[in-house]
């Protein structure tokens, strides 16, 4: 057995030594970004081609997990960059004191509501929406109010404690219903098939037919059109408007590669990175970039909803508690 172990481990040893020659930039991100079918591999390739370094993605469950992991590890973290936090987590992430300011010129950034933050650099944005399969569901809900009345619809969403879409839904509900939020959650809980840790779990379950609706983005149908030539997956446009998500990255203070990290952030808002967003992460790029034709067919949100980062930071814990209490009842 020992011999076999050696035989198995030998190639691993060799390959990890070959890698050690160049500096490595370690980026904590969420699972679907780094996965083979996400934008990660293409971005790794094009950044490595120009930086003379190794780019390593460490895939965590989902956006909020990145923050949790960073806090768990504190100053010992191996991360040089975190990529995949969002506009709702800015304040909480800053309060860890583990992130440092960026040096990126933000002039070219095109975002609804603009962008002006000294720590975080945005890399894409989108709107949360429920996705349905038009072959199975003829009459999708056209508003959040209708969703609440439709007892027949089962749904999947993500845990706001680990996932940024989950947190987005929490804030969406909070924005639309404020003090009635608790009732809304109880209403939804009756039809919830599963609350998953990350986006990919919920979306995978939806594609397997486990539920009628899944929380994702208005841009998700583009994936099915472009990659699979399937048009039956559509976003349900809600008349009350959709909650906005801006995904961001930031540099970790304790990084051993601060120059490389700066370089990556600059690269992130350039075409080498942004061209992979629309058809890789299936979100809107943050600079002027030609979009594929499928993006014309997407639902345009009636209005864009959001809280300020400070509001979220102040209430997030209480709202998550309220959600837990309501859905567990």
């Amino acid at each position: 057995m020992k011999k076999n172990l050696l035989a198995l481990s030998l190639p691993l040893l060799i390959s990890s030594q070959a890698m050690a020659a160049e500096p490595t930039l370690t980026v904590y991100t969420y699972g679907s970004f780094a996965s083979d079918w996400g934008p990660g591999p293409a971005i790794k390739k094009s950044f490595e081609a120009e930086c003379g370094c190794q780019l390593e993605f460490v895939a965590l469950d989902d956006g909020v997990s990145i923050l949790n992991r960073l806090r768990l590890e504190g100053g010992d973290t191996r991360a040089d960059l975190v990529l995949g936090l969002d506009n709702n987590l800015l304040q909480a992430a800053k309060e860890t004191g583990l992130l440092s300011e960026h040096k990126v010129e933000l002039d070219g950034i095109r975002l609804p509501g603009g962008w002006n933050d000294s720590v975080f650099v945005p890399f894409d944005y989108g709107y949360f929406a429920f996705i349905y399969d038009a072959d199975k569901l003829d009459t999708p809900p056209t508003s959040f109010a209708e969703l609440l009345e439709r007892d027949d619809l089962s749904l999947l969403y993500q845990d706001p404690r680990t996932s940024t879409p989950g947190l987005g839904l929490l804030l969406w509900v909070q924005q639309l219903y404020a003090e009635r939020a608790s009732d809304i959650w109880q209403n939804l809980a009756k039809r919830t098939v599963s609350v998953t840790k990350g986006w990919s779990e919920a979306y995978g379950m939806f594609l397997e037919g486990e539920a009628d609706l899944v929380l994702s983005y208005t841009t998700s149908p583009a994936y099915h059109i472009e990659a699979e030539q399937k048009t039956q997956y559509r976003a349900a446009g809600f008349s009350e408007g959709h909650y906005l998500q801006v995904e961001v990255a930031a540099k970790v203070k304790t990084s051993q590669q601060p120059e490389l990290a700066d370089r990556f952030l600059q690269f992130m808002v350039g075409p080498g990175f942004q061209q992979h967003i629309a058809t890789g992460n299936w979100m809107y790029p943050v600079i002027d970039t030609p979009l594929p034709a499928s993006f014309d067919k997407l639902v345009q949100p009636a209005s864009s909803l959001s809280f300020s980062a400070e509001e979220v930071a102040e209430h997030r814990q209480a709202w998550v508690r309220q959600w837990l209490n309501s859905v567990a009842r």
Partner: protein, 533 residues
């Protein structure tokens, strides 16, 4: 080793064990200085978690026993081809990694599973019923019904032949037999069995993680993990872990008080002819009991095997991720197994000296039960404590392998102790005097006397410990990362992402690994020690 050093191995083992247990408990206590249980109970979500932990464990226990009692009766009444194999398989469900069973259950009961495919073929709408309480109950019954049936069957087989003959002469019907023979025999085993199943379900982790489906079906064990990894709430994680520690301690005390020695039937004894075998009603009853119980137990097992022989699997089997996980699993299991055996041998070689030479039976028993004290600490609690203890001192995630290994080694200790206790003592009883008179000491004694006699039980203890470690999900859930994957953790993630083909490949490798160890145990042991529980 000269006799005056008798205390050394035990002292080393015991102090390391106690250090590894009290350190984390201390860290938990320090972390939650102002924490009171009333604070915990004031939160309605945590009240729900507590309620649900008890509720699902209670329901799982009830259902498992309600099925196991008729199943044990049926098995004691009937002889049919495959019966012995089935009873053997019932033992397997105990050592099968929980996450592997979860894979089988998803393959059978998931939206795309066998049940729904059957429904669709019959023209019904498929429906999802797996996630939440249903899934948890299905998995817990899968594990515990066979365990309970096996133990109850032993009780039934211990009923003396004379009782059966008497019952025949008195013309007892089936319900008379139950009332006067079977129930009294099973009743002595039931309380301890029920509390064992309750404890297993109360602390079940992998099942609830994978099949719980959200906050509504969260147990205390999973809430500890979530407080740490989701909320980064160290005081809460510490408080919940202490609460779990208190509950487990109470259950174990209860269990200890309820345990009665069960006499096993002499093997190979001719079975008595039960007077109720030939009635039509019992035939029908037995057939339906078998059908119901086997439809819960066999399909998930079959699903693992069937998924494993799918030819689509071969390319997936070559994935580097899978083999890296296999390698980590093996490394950790081997390390954990060896460490566990090392602790056990050290502890027992001193405790047997205390018992046989110093005649301090009580002190020896105390040493041995201190070694098993880990039973009150579920792996999640121990890991949480270690995490809090080491955080700030070292990079917890880069030490992941070592920490998982340590936790696994400690978790396996009670099993290793139970396996080696009697053999070690026997060797000392039979050979101490001879060795003393021939002057065989130290390494010579270990090499010439101990090793040949203890080789088998040591191998068994090692294999048992390795098997437990190979199936562990609790420790790896806390310490795992992209750089440290084990087979159960990989399988858990693939199941979560619904990558059923990849999951099937991982399940296959995990099954072969566990089964290989299981067979190793049966082979090495064979005879009378085969039953380790």
């Amino acid at each position: 080793m000269p006799a005056r050093w008798w205390w050394l191995p035990g002292a080393v083992s015991l102090s390391l064990i106690l250090l590894l247990i009290t350190g984390p408990i201390g860290a938990l206590l320090v972390q939650v200085p102002t924490f009171t249980f009333t604070d915990l109970l004031a939160d309605s979500y945590l009240r729900h978690v507590l309620w649900f932990s008890f509720y699902q464990a209670g329901l799982s226990t009830l259902l498992s026993l309600a099925l196991a009692i008729p199943l044990a009766r049926t098995l004691s009444r009937r002889r049919f081809p495959g019966r012995d194999l089935l009873v053997k398989l019932f033992g397997l469900s105990l050592v099968l990694p929980a996450i592997l069973a979860v894979f089988g259950i998803v393959a059978v009961h998931g939206r795309q599973g066998w049940v729904n495919q059957l429904l669709m073929a019959l023209g019904f709408e498929p429906f999802g019923y797996l996630y939440g309480l249903n899934g948890i109950l299905l998995a817990h019954i899968f594990f515990n019904m066979p365990l309970a049936a096996r133990i109850l069957l032993q009780s039934l087989e211990a009923i003396p032949d004379t009782s059966w003959r008497l019952a025949s002469q008195l013309g007892f019907r089936s319900h008379h037999l139950f009332r006067w023979l079977e129930w009294p025999a099973m009743r002595t085993a039931l309380p301890a069995l029920a509390s064992l199943i309750f404890l297993l379900c109360f602390t079940s982790f992998a099942t609830v993680m994978a099949l719980g489906g959200g906050p509504r079906s969260t147990t205390l064990e999973v809430a500890i993990y979530q407080a740490l990894r989701f909320d980064f709430d160290l005081p809460l994680a510490g408080g919940l872990a202490l609460l779990q520690l208190v509950f487990c301690g109470m259950f174990l005390l209860l269990q200890h008080g309820l345990s009665r020695p069960v006499q096993a039937a002499a093997p190979g004894r001719p079975r008595p002819d039960r007077p109720d075998r030939h009635h039509l009603s019992t035939r029908l009853m037995d057939a339906s009991v078998m059908l119901l119980c086997l439809s819960l137990f066999l399909p998930p097992l079959l699903a693992i095997v069937v998924a494993g022989i799918n030819p689509q699997l071969w390319p997936v089997l070559l994935s580097g991720e899978l083999w890296r996980a296999t390698l980590s699993s093996l490394k950790i299991a081997l390390g954990a197994g060896m460490l566990s055996v090392f602790f056990t041998l050290g502890l027992l070689s001193s405790s047997r000296y205390v018992r046989l030479h110093l005649k301090q039976t009580g002190a020896a028993a105390l040493m041995e039960s201190l070694g098993s004290i880990i039973l009150v600490m579920p792996a999640v609690v121990l890991s949480t404590g270690l995490f809090i203890l080491l955080r700030g001192l070292v990079d917890v995630f880069s030490l992941g392998t070592v920490l998982v290994l340590l936790v696994n080694a400690l978790m396996a200790l009670p099993y290793a102790l139970r396996t080696l206790l009697l053999p070690m003592e026997q060797v000392a009883r039979q050979h101490d005097r001879l060795c003393a008179s021939l002057g065989i000491t130290g390494l010579a004694r270990i090499y010439r006397v101990e090793w040949p006699l203890l080789r088998k039980p040591i191998a068994l203890a090692l294999a048992l410990a390795m098997m437990l470690s190979v199936g562990d999900l609790s420790a790896i859930a806390l310490f795992g990362s992209q750089h440290l994957q084990t087979l159960p953790w990989l399988l858990y993630q693939q199941l979560g992402n619904y990558q059923m083909t990849q999951a099937a490949a991982t399940a296959l490798v995990l099954l072969l690994l566990s089964l290989g160890l299981f067979i190793l145990i049966e082979r090495v042991l064979g005879g009378k020690h085969a039953r380790t529980r």
